[in-house]
Amino acid sequence: MMTKVYAVVGALVLSALGWAHFTGWAPTDVDEVKNVPKSIRDNPGSYRSAYGWARPYTGAK
């Protein structure tokens, strides 16, 4: 029954239109990156003491 199929298609298309407008959807490809470093010192390689900033010693003799 084409009428039933069309009713479903129409409902889906209208829902998609409404949803796209409501959420501000766009077909753009974007990469999401979490936890962008705030500064150069905030990087995976550096060591930060869990005990606070009282001791400035970071390793080398």
Partner: protein, 437 residues
């Protein structure tokens, strides 16, 4: 004591021996029929003659067995009928014979009816005495409905079996015209003596096989029957209504969101790029993206001239640290050649970022370019209307309508294919060449 009217006795169906060959013969509608054909020897006898004199004799070379045997009784649309006669008739079109079968049905109260079968499609018809009105445009109007001319041809009787209300003869001809208004068909038969009309309805073979309690399957249906109702016709109006309804709703949705959209310019700055300067990366001042979660439009306008630039961009949320990375390419080339001036690409680019939560954001921009220096302006807008979505929706809504129209038309194309008025096929309509057929 009241005198009872003495009605003359009603003749009952009778079995007798064929006057020509002696085979057993049944007359099922005595008084109603005029001739009866013997299935064994093909002789046609006078059914109103007490001696059943032979009217004609044929060499019936091939014996045809009717799909619904003579004497079968069945209830069609709540009325009981008995098959009393069978005919095969044919027309010649461009040297080819097309034949069909006709079954004469009888009920002593209701009279005679006909079942005709062609290519597995059945029509249940009865003679009408009314005079349909022939219109100048070859249509015919009867009982308030208009029937379109389907075919006119000389029909010839090729085979007879059983009884008929006229002197049925092999070889007798009549000019038959059919007019259709599915599921009905109006036919006229013209002989030298008279023109008779009959009206018929499409009826399913399966229904007949059930009604007459026949074994096996009805003949396989080929193509579309002359009076076969289109399954698409009754859906046409609901489909159209849905299309306009959906279209209206889509426009409404578009308009509502266009009104609600902020379209606010939240950031605008122009930057100069110079290859000689070490750090070309730009970190903008933060700007507010307000309102509910919505899109962000970023325009980059450059003064590039016959050059390209690739922008690595990141939109970074100041509070959550989440970043959206994306890259945009801008290139613009132009010149003159033998054909005139030409240009390729554009000096500016627009991108839409999807579903950005509200918050404070800044942009990180790192251009790469072939140019030594150029300037570019960046504009950020919050919650803009996407008018192109409506066009896509329109396209999606139109596609099922096109499919429906195509199927509906194909059905009718098949119906009219063997008529005097075949339709143009869709490929005929699309091509340019003229065919003289």
């Amino acid at each position: 004591m009241v005198a009872k009217p003495a009605a003359p006795a009603a003749p009952a169906a009778k079995t007798l021996a064929c006057t020509s060959c002696g085979a057993s013969l049944t007359v099922r509608a005595p008084g109603h029929t005029v001739s009866v054909a013997c299935s064994a020897c093909g002789a046609v006898l006078d059914a109103q003659d007490p001696d059943f004199t032979v009217i004609a004799k044929y060499e019936q070379k091939t014996k045809i067995k009717p799909d619904i045997p003579l004497g079968s009784r069945g209830k069609l649309r709540n009325e009981m009928y008995e098959v009393i006669g069978f005919l095969v008739r044919r027309i010649k079109v461009e040297g080819v014979y097309y034949s069909w079968r006709e079954f004469l049905l009888f009920n002593p109260y209701l009279g005679m009816r006909w079942l005709t079968e062609y290519a597995g499609h059945w029509v249940f018809a009865k003679a009408v005495s009314g005079r349909p009105q022939k219109n100048p445009d070859t249509t015919v109007t009867y009982l308030g409905a208009t029937f379109r001319h389907f075919q006119t041809a000389m029909a010839e009787v090729a085979y007879v079996l059983g009884e008929f209300p006229w002197r049925a003869k092999v070889g007798e001809t009549a000019e038959v015209s059919d007019y259709v208004d599915p599921p009905r068909v109006l036919s006229s038969e013209k002989t030298a003596e008279e023109t008779t009309w009959s009206i018929g309805d499409h009826i399913e073979g399966a229904y007949l096989w059930e009604a007459f309690n026949l074994k096996g399957e009805p003949p396989v249906a080929r193509g579309v029957g002359i009076a076969q109702p289109s399954p698409y016709e009754p859906q046409a109006r609901p489909m159209r209504r849905m299309f306009w309804g959906f279209l209206g709703a889509a426009v409404l949705i578009q308009v509502v969101f266009s009104i609600l959209a902020q379209g606010k310019l939240v950031f605008e700055q122009t930057f100069a790029f110079d290859r000689t300067r070490a750090n070309a990366a730009v970190v903008t001042e933060p700007f507010e993206l307000g309102g509910r979660r919505s899109n962000v439009q970023i325009d980059i306008r450059t003064d590039l001239s016959n050059n390209w630039a690739y922008f690595n961009l990141a939109l970074i949320n100041e509070q959550t640290g989440r970043a959206l990375n994306f890259g945009r390419n801008v290139e613009y080339y132009f010149g003159r050649d033998s054909d005139g001036s030409w240009s390729e690409g554009a000096k500016w680019d627009r991108v839409y970022l999807p579903s950005i939560e509200s918050g404070r954001y800044y942009l990180l921009i790192e251009p790469e370019t072939g140019a030594a220096q150029f300037t570019y302006a960046v504009e950020v807008r919050r919650d803009v209307t996407r008018s192109s979505y409506l066009w896509y929706v329109l396209g999606l809504l139109v596609i099922p309508m096109l499919i429906f129209w195509y199927r509906k038309r194909s059905f009718e194309y098949k119906r009219w294919a063997e008529s005097d008025h075949p339709m143009w096929s869709v490929s005929d309509m699309a091509s340019d060449d003229d065919d003289d057929d």
